[in-house]
């Protein structure tokens, strides 16, 4: 989690320095979900993520070097420079890709789960998405179909109460998102997303359910975004007190630290380790190879 936090902070810094092209969406504040879910997965399980994918990608095992290199658009990046922040893939490690289209990756997770079921494999497909995505067509169609066919999928909803700049009240006609699952007759679990252990336990339950052939699970994680939607977002749509309060009270890192009773020294040591790793990743990325312009013509067709 600390790794994700420091990584994301570094990403913000490098973006402001004008080194990172494109869009960046950092997961500061939502680390516990990424870590809690991914640590519960077994080998062979797959994930698909959203535009806010760095946390999931790191938690699923991609080395920060490869991730940073991808953000810098280098050949050494996990998508070899073709994807960028919103199209991070690490197929070997079970990461089927971040997706820039809200809800875009959900149907494929239903499909992956279908494949596991048809082949009799004990694998589970896990999708990450936000509360905003519960409005889009692919969400409804994917969960509907997944439940109908009882495929081994877990749909992880990171409810941070904002869809980009739009607060929940303006985009959700219901308050309790578990009701979304009820519409499909799907089992749901709700968990406090800032508590990494709770997320881990809930995920384990969900995976078991799916693996046992009982069908997909809607895993609703209540969380908070500690920064803006994108790097540089001044969050003019969010009351300042809310941001302050959330930062003060809902940061999963201090929560975990307190829970584990980590001493100042140990924490600093950890921080140093992680920071070194992150800074190393920037160096690695900067020293990386730029793709040749003509590389753009490759990989269009298999």
């Amino acid at each position: 989690m600390l790794l994700i936090r420091r990584f994301e902070e570094k990403v913000e810094e490098r973006f402001r320095a004008g080194e990172l092209p494109g869009f960046l969406h950092v997961a500061i504040g939502q680390e516990a979900i990424a870590v809690g879910v991914c640590k519960a997965l077994e080998d062979g399980d797959v994930i698909a993520s959203t535009h806010r994918a760095h946390g999931h990608t790191l938690a699923k095992g991609t080395h920060p070097n490869e991730l940073m290199a991808e953000l810098y658009g280098k050949v050494e990046g996990c998508s070899h420079g073709y994807g960028g922040s919103m199209h991070l893939y690490d197929v070997e490690r079970g990461n089927l890709g971040a997706n820039a289209v809200v809800g875009g990756g959900l149907p494929a997770i239903t499909g992956a789960a279908l494949a596991f079921k048809m082949r009799g494999e004990p694998r589970v497909a896990v999708a990450f998405f936000g509360d905003g995505a519960t409005n889009i067509g692919t969400f409804h169609e994917s969960l509907n179909l997944a439940q109908l066919w009882r495929v081994p999928a877990v749909f992880v909803c990171e409810n941070n109460h904002y869809a980009e700049s739009t607060p929940a009240a303006q985009q959700l006609p219901i308050e309790d998102l578990e009701q979304r699952a009820v519409a499909f007759g799907m089992t749901s679990i709700k968990v406090h997303g800032q508590d990494v252990e709770a997320v881990y336990r809930a995920t384990k339950k969900a995976l078991e359910h799916a693996r046992e052939g009982k069908g997909p699970v809607f895993l609703l994680c209540e969380t908070f975004r500690l920064t803006g939607h994108y790097v540089g977002d001044p969050q003019v749509y969010r009351p300042k007190e809310e941001v302050r309060e959330v930062r003060a009270k809902q940061d999963p890192l201090p929560k975990l630290r307190e829970k584990l009773g980590i001493s100042d020294e140990d924490w600093d040591e950890l921080d140093r380790e992680v920071t070194e790793l992150v800074e190393g990743s920037v160096e690695f990325a900067k020293a990386g190879t730029d793709p040749k312009p003509e590389d753009a013509l490759k990989n269009v067709y298999a």
Binding site: R16, A17, G18, L20, L297, V300
Partner: protein, 434 residues
């Protein structure tokens, strides 16, 4: 170690900002992530967080001051630390576009999210150049090599659709033209150029070889004489003649022409008018002879006759003494004998003036090349209905353009103009020839 805090680029299009209010003062402690100052950009006022923890050692930018992105605004470090001129990584590379790199991105729809990353502009440049260098052809679609037409169907001339049409209109054979377009394609220009060349219409050559035509002796003579003529300093004057009277005269004469006799034409009327004018302006009826000018007592007018691959100018003698009917008969006789190849040397000698008429080809006007040593040559265009102003009114009249070329060594502008004016007067009022 002291950290220089620089103004960050917070969004696409942001070039500078104004610090509205410092939230920390020099000497204050600050944590990384804590709001450090309030910044006013073009779009919004927002709090900017500190990138480092420590003590605010120095504030470098004042409230209300507009700062460029990337420029330092403060220094944060350990308490009591010396502020050196050391700068950290980010300030050197701080998103400053102070190096003047123009940002290519258009700002008309200011998007908040994302950034082309000005530091990566060089790569974008590289990508653009590589694209410009690559073949103009689409990369993805499987490139069919330009399939050469199979031998079986025979050769095909490469010509643009426009060139084909023009060639057709001009009656030119494509295969006789040389193409200057891509891959030797014949383009419109090539057709225009070929059409503009004087001389005979292009015939399709029998083979692909360049055809070599030996000059006939006539051609050689013409070539020599034309070269001589070109060396003569000459000038041209032109006049437009209202041909109504001449046409009436011709009709009258036709009425009186007997069966079997030669029918007089406008050329004959013109020949007569020129002959009479030449005797009035004797300087025009002359030869230039180096240090002398020979002025002749009679007008022997040469009539240019086109023959295959050439031009012959047989002479009608004593034109001023002949009636128009007689001139017509003489003309016809000469033309027949010319075409039959039965001209004598006498037919070609002693010409004092030449008339060349291209009116039957639809030519408006032209400049004839002098026939040395003659002082002048008259070029005649077609008679055409043209709009003409008479008494302030616009009317249609049959007019003909005459262009007189003169040897400037023997004749001056005034003489030439008077002569031509007389010819015109005679044509417009034949009674004056009496």
């Amino acid at each position: 170690m002291a950290n220089q805090v620089t103004l960050p680029r917070l969004g696409q299009g942001m070039e500078s900002g104004t610090i509205v209010r410092w939230l920390k003062a020099e000497g204050d402690k600050v944590e990384k992530g804590e709001p450090l100052y309030e910044l006013d950009t073009e779009k919004v006022t927002q709090e900017v967080e500190s990138d480092a923890s420590g003590v605010v050692l120095k504030i470098l930018a004042g409230e209300g001051e507009e700062i460029e992105v990337g420029k330092p605004v403060a220094v944060i470090g350990e308490e009591g630390e010396e502020i050196s001129s050391e700068t950290d990584d980010s300030s050197e590379e701080g998103g400053s576009d102070g190096d003047g790199t123009a940002r290519e991105v258009s700002d008309d729809e200011p998007k908040e999210e994302g950034d082309p990353a000005p530091k990566r502009e060089g790569e974008r440049e590289e990508g653009r150049e590589a694209r410009a260098d690559s073949d103009g052809k689409p990369e993805q679609a499987k490139q069919a090599e330009r399939v050469e037409q199979p031998e079986v169907s025979g050769r095909r001339v490469k010509a643009s659709p426009l060139a084909r049409r023009l060639a057709k209109e001009r009656g030119l054979e494509l295969s006789s033209l040389k193409g200057t377009g891509p891959e030797g394609r014949i383009v419109a220009e090539d057709v225009e150029r070929a059409a503009a060349q004087p001389g005979w219409a292009a015939e399709a050559p029998a083979s692909d070889e360049v055809e070599v035509v030996q000059l006939s002796s006539m051609r050689k003579t013409i070539a020599r004489r034309m070269t001589e003529a070109w060396e003569t300093p000459h000038f041209q004057i032109a006049m437009t003649v209202d041909m109504r009277a001449a046409m009436r005269l011709r009709e009258l004469l036709l009425e009186r022409t007997q069966e079997g006799a030669t029918r007089p034409t406008f050329s004959d009327v013109l020949t007569k008018a020129c002959a009479m004018a030449l005797l009035r302006h004797r300087d025009m009826n002359a030869h230039f002879a180096g240090t002398e000018v020979h002025i002749f007592p009679t007008a022997n007018i040469g009539i240019a006759v086109a023959v295959p691959h050439g031009l012959v100018v047989p002479v009608i003698r004593n034109c001023e003494r002949k009636s128009i009917a007689e001139l017509a008969a003489a003309r016809v006789d000469l033309v027949e004998r010319t075409r039959a190849g039965k001209l004598t040397q006498g037919d070609l000698e002693d010409g004092t003036f030449t008339i060349s008429n291209l009116g039957m080809y639809g030519v408006d006007r032209f400049v004839a090349v002098l026939n040395p040593p003659q002082a002048g040559i008259l070029a005649v265009g077609a008679i055409q209905e043209r709009p003409v102003v008479e008494d302030g009114e616009l009317v249609a009249r049959p007019v003909m353009e005459l262009t007189l070329s003169c040897d400037h060594r023997s004749v001056d502008g005034a003489t030439a103009s008077e002569f031509l004016g007389t010819v015109k007067a005679f044509l417009e009022e034949p009674g004056l020839m009496l």
